[in-house]
Symmetry: C2
Subunit: 191 residues, 2 copies
């Protein structure tokens, strides 16, 4: 999307970087993809990639149209303390999936994780480390990583049944109802 | 697997029926596959299909090496009353996934559900209707179908993270620990 105030060519440069990033992440997975390689693919200086997109995490999030920066997710989830973390993460998750713009790349990513080794690597490395690892770091108590992974598995499972398989009993439920039903279960893993 | 006491040829006939069933379910999905079509594919009388495998549900379960008959799942889950239903279904689920013999066809089925429309149909029609519909029929309270679907989504989500994506924090956990952690959450949907 073009933004006002950018110099001519910025939109093209951004688009070229995003296209190169999508290709690099698809070919190498998340961990092995590099800003340098993406810059080479887009025929720009690596500094320009950082200028437009920040870190590799942020660039990946932008390449799949994720509406939230990974580095901000954990803080947003924990914004009102751990007592609200379950409802916050559930709300962010379903808001992202209900938006057709973000649902398409998430679905593609989930399908990719089943199809290819790299696809599974991307999902595990990016969501597992960059996003959930940070959330786990803010959750009190022992073995927070396991508890956060279990909580997220519930969210992903509902996404699979609702958006991929189209289970009638979950596809027909309004999303606000899903959030109400699931938030306490997600919360029970957090505190 | 050959069983003692069968007349010569029975093993071959069973194998031919299973092969035809796998092809028919893959081509048509679960609902549109018929015993008659499977019998034609195996070049046997439909009565012989029923003789060896019972209902279409049971034949499908056999075709994916499922260790439990769909018609028996609900009763097994509810055997000690609804108070134990969460732990029972969680234990049955992970016991099936931890066994390499049954894990392979389940993984193939889950992958198939992401790849093809038919694959998604099979998973939804068979597990949604034949298996979970029956469990929901035995769970007290309103909208049991939604609650059972939510419970099962959690199980499926953990299967995705543990067996497909290989999330370290879930892959390294002993299955007994997973069952202990998850059973109360699954149970909370049931009663």
């Amino acid at each position: 999307m073009a933004r006002s105030g950018r110099r001519p060519g910025a939109t093209d440069t951004r688009a070229a970087i995003l296209t190169a990033a999508q290709a690099e992440f698809a070919a190498k997975g998340y961990d092995r993809a590099t800003i340098r390689g993406i810059a080479a693919g887009a025929k720009v200086d690596p500094a320009l990639v950082h200028h437009y997109f920040g870190t590799k995490e942020d660039l990946f999030a932008a390449s799949i149209d994720l509406p939230i920066r990974p580095s901000e997710l954990a803080d947003t989830v924990m914004a009102e303390g751990v007592e609200s973390a379950g409802r916050n993460i559930t709300t962010i998750f379903f808001t992202t999936w209900e938006n057709p713009v973000t649902r398409a790349p998430l679905l593609a990513m989930l399908r990719g994780a089943f199809d290819t080794r790299h696809g599974a690597d991307v999902l595990r490395e990016f969501f597992g480390t960059a996003m959930l690892g940070r959330v786990a770091g803010l959750i009190p108590g022992p073995e927070a990583e396991i508890r956060v992974a279990l909580a997220v598995s519930h969210l992903i499972g509902v996404a699979v049944l609702r958006y991929v398989l189209g289970f009638p009993s979950l596809s027909d439920v309004p999303v606000a109802r899903l959030i109400d039903e699931m938030s306490p279960k997600i919360q029970s893993y957090f505190a």
